[in-house]
Symmetry: C2
Subunit: 157 residues, 2 copies
């Protein structure tokens, strides 16, 4: 499938919450999102990578305005499942490239990540689908990074 980048999206109005070292066993993710659902907290993305030593970290992003409520739920959850800690960060933005067939093609990931690297931007989180490749980066760097990525994919023409 031909890989085509169609646009860049920047969401600066988000905050990230990570619950570190939750037990890696069935029912844990369910419990967290069930509690968030009961609290009516709207979720933007969910990221969980591979485990290590029977624990794992679960991260999710919310609208910045919902951070306080989400942290309250996350802390209650962390306490109940005996996770290590809750981390949260409002200084994060989601920068994504959007297109068709884009994940399959590592050249696109490579160019996206290269542009961030060349501008000294650290990639804090990565989550992808066939049509969207999203990164979480420092909010302060985000506007400039978006312009650079736009140029790198020649989207101005």
């Amino acid at each position: 499938e031909q890989a085509i980048v169609k646009g860049i999206a920047l969401d600066e109005n988000i905050a990230k919450i990570s619950i570190m070292e939750v037990p890696d066993k069935p029912g844990i993710a369910f419990r967290l999102f069930s509690m968030l659902a009961k609290a009516n907290i709207h979720i933007d993305m969910i990221v969980q990578n591979t485990n290590r030593a029977n624990v794992n970290d679960i991260s999710f992003t919310v609208n910045a305005d919902d951070l306080q409520d989400a942290v309250t739920v996350a802390q209650q959850f962390a306490f109940e499942v005996e996770a290590q800690k809750v981390e949260f960060d409002k200084g994060v933005a989601k920068l994504s490239i959007i297109g068709t067939g884009i994940v399959g093609n590592p050249d696109i990931a490579s160019r996206f990540f290269e542009t961030l690297y060349k501008n000294g931007v650290n990639i804090r989180t990565i989550s992808t689908s066939e049509i969207k490749m999203s990164t979480l980066i420092d909010k302060e760097a985000a506007r400039d990074a978006m312009v650079k990525v736009h140029e790198a994919f020649e989207l101005d023409r």
Copy 2:
């Protein structure tokens, strides 16, 4: 936005590779995907969660047939950046729910994860977008899990 689950997708023909404890600084993700691009390895998904103590883990999935080539690249990369180790796993499958507005709604994540929990399925990796919520689970459990998730979202009607 109304959240609607339209379908379930199962991909059993994948393998997962994780490079554990890479340095968490700019240029690392670029280097990995640049090497994978040079080796012409087609990527299905990329997952990286929040860091800890200046290191992070980067995971990606490939077509099961490409596992050996991808591991070769991953090991070379891990050596060059002094990562802790490379893990890989062919016994994994990607089970996803597809729809519109689905991530925003934690009730959908909750029901998806609850179904897996009730069937004793451990969720190994989670990656989401607005239209797709993907999990990596044990391949052996995947077919049965797909049927159960299909039922849970009443997609047979």
